[in-house]
Symmetry: C2
Subunit: 339 residues, 2 copies
DNA sequence: AATGATTGCGAACACGTGTACGCAGAAATT
DNA sequence: AATTTCTGCGTACACGTGTTCGCAATCATT
């Protein structure tokens, strides 16, 4: 049985209210009784019931985090920083994993709302602007921040200029002499597609719809996409992958086909995951500032929790090309950076 | 402003209690009024307040998960399965990251208790048997399950026979002809040390204390440990690392020293992380059944939540040697297994 | 010394829900 | 027709906390 204020009150011969005052360091109480109460609370090892407090204060000191897949190192790293920043701000984190399912994302958000979390961070939302759930969040002015964006919806967000990143990646491949560059697009990848197209256009290369291959989010999906690319009649000489995770899948497929990177096929990823530099062929990729993303998401959310009606805070961060070996260029930086 | 039962009651002209009965599908209510109430609840988009419910029922439908480092792929994978199984059982997950700090672990557990989670899973506990916090958990019969164990404390747990795994790993290295095998022990690694010693003893090799190198949990720590090993006068020819993560650090250092794996130095890891097979030199390692670990931890916890006084459930799982290239033996399985 | 301000405390209500009980009226039993 | 059971609903209390009052007693002010 756990200790309540009532019990401390009875032991010390005062009312529960007075106990509350002592514990919350309020005024209108004598030093004497305060000391007596604190001593007794300490002796009984009293711990306030956060649930009751949450109900009374209409504040749970909890934020929800919705992620597509925690085993994706990019997601994991951001999650780490989110948790870290939240802990500093005295918030706990309820984490929901959606496995890239829109349905689960909806259910997760609903559950978080029911739990009355103070705010929600949605990492890589699956939802679109028609999504009932997100619209409700917005309409009720429930504090939430996206990592990424939802097309056609004005929200708080922190994101990375993905189009710019893709532009850099593809431009770099073009500078290496590649003319047919496939794009393993994954499920979404619309913004990167824009950068991809822009790079092609600027260098006078035509856009070939066939070179854009859609696929699921798993390693196997990446391998499968690579298989399709290898089977093309006029086989591309380079592949740009939606993210490092898919790039690894592509590598698997290339290896299985006995092709070498970058000689037989150049490859560029996206994210600069901790392990990108440690793969069999160190991966050229686009680095995203994961720590900043995580921290900013929490900080914006905290602002929004304080002022739910404030107009959206929106942060756009810059990605950066990291040249290693998988693209065929000489490595510019030894990049042994991360912990 | 959110909808409450009271408001539905007023709209439909009944008491709040009747609303409760209708929503919870209780008896002692006419079909007529039930339908009327449900209709109104639907219209108003009523969502029960989980905080209030938790207070009344003394049940939060939430479990706490304490992990040392979510960016460690091994931890992330287990976390995924924990979340998954918890979601199926209609539990939400509050995640706390300790960064391998005992102090933070304590604070996390305290916070979870304050929040009245229904139970706690502690992945790789830092605490020892003297830890005040854990002892309190146990004394109060607060449901908790360890992934791993705490020496000298009888608790519920699911763990892998780490000694057996280490035994397999080191035995394998010995079979490859290695006689001086270093052990990058990391911070804890006591059980693996037993397996390490057993393998040496069984093959008539002496134990050399110097070959056991302690270090922190990060990639850099692994590299540092490798540096010490390389500096030894009678340099070892093989390294057994506490886990794949540290093994990657070791690889970094070897590469920096221009040494090849496995020719100049054989290497075996532990965990069989998703990426072990994709490193520059595919890593021989000890596979742990991560999905089983995560699921069982939740299932045991759920049992414990139902019967807090039941004697501890304890599960010991078997690890498995996965031979790739870093040990110098021929790969037995192509191991393209994981998703 | 009479008045006003301040201090120390408790009563009462609020937060949103679940549940044991009581009490009418209707239905079923004698 | 009188009694018992059952149905449908509301009253009252509980969960553990925060907060607004009001009321004495004490202190400071004139």
């Amino acid at each position: 049985m756990t200790i309540t204020m009532q019990q401390i009150a009875e032991k010390t011969g005062v009312s529960r209210i007075t106990v509350s005052r002592a514990l919350n360091n309020r005024s209108r109480i004598s030093q004497e009784t305060r000391r007596k109460i604190l001593k007794e609370a300490r002796r009984l090892n009293y711990r306030p019931n956060a649930v009751a407090k949450a109900l009374a204060m209409k504040k749970t000191h909890t934020i929800g985090l919705v992620v597509p897949d925690i085993t994706n190192p990019f997601v994991a790293e951001i999650t780490k920083h989110v948790e870290d920043r939240a802990a500093v701000g005295d918030y706990s984190l309820i984490m929901c994993v959606t496995n890239n399912s829109l349905k689960k994302e909806d259910a997760s958000i609903r559950s978080l709302m029911d739990r009355r979390v103070d705010g929600i961070i949605i990492n890589h939302p699956q939802s679109n602007a028609q999504s009932q759930c997100i619209r409700q969040l917005k309409q009720e002015k429930f504090p939430f921040v996206l990592i990424g964006t939802i097309d056609g919806m004005e929200t708080d967000y922190v994101m990375v200029d993905l189009a710019e990143g893709a532009y850099q990646a593809v431009s770099h491949l073009i500078r290496q002499g590649h003319k047919r560059i496939a794009y393993v697009r994954g499920g979404n990848g619309r913004l990167r597609l824009m950068g991809y197209k822009k790079a092609l256009a600027e260098h006078g290369l035509g856009f070939d719809e066939e070179l854009v291959v859609r696929c699921g989010p798993g390693l196997k999906d990446g391998a499968e996409a690579a298989g399709k690319i290898l089977a093309m009649q006029d086989r591309p000489t380079a592949i740009f992958a939606l993210n490092d995770f898919l790039a690894m899948g592509v590598m698997d497929a290339l290896k299985a086909a006995n092709l070498n990177v970058p000689e037989d096929m150049a490859l560029v990823g996206f994210d600069d995951v901790l392990l990108a530099s440690r793969l069999s062929v160190p991966l050229t990729t686009i680095a995203q500032p994961m720590e900043q993303i995580g921290k900013l998401a929490v900080e914006i959310l905290m602002k929004k929790i304080e002022k739910p009606t404030h107009e959206p805070w929106q942060v756009m961060l810059k990605p950066q090309l990291v040249i290693r070996e998988s693209c065929g260029a000489k490595s510019q930086q030894s990049s042994q950076e991360n912990t």
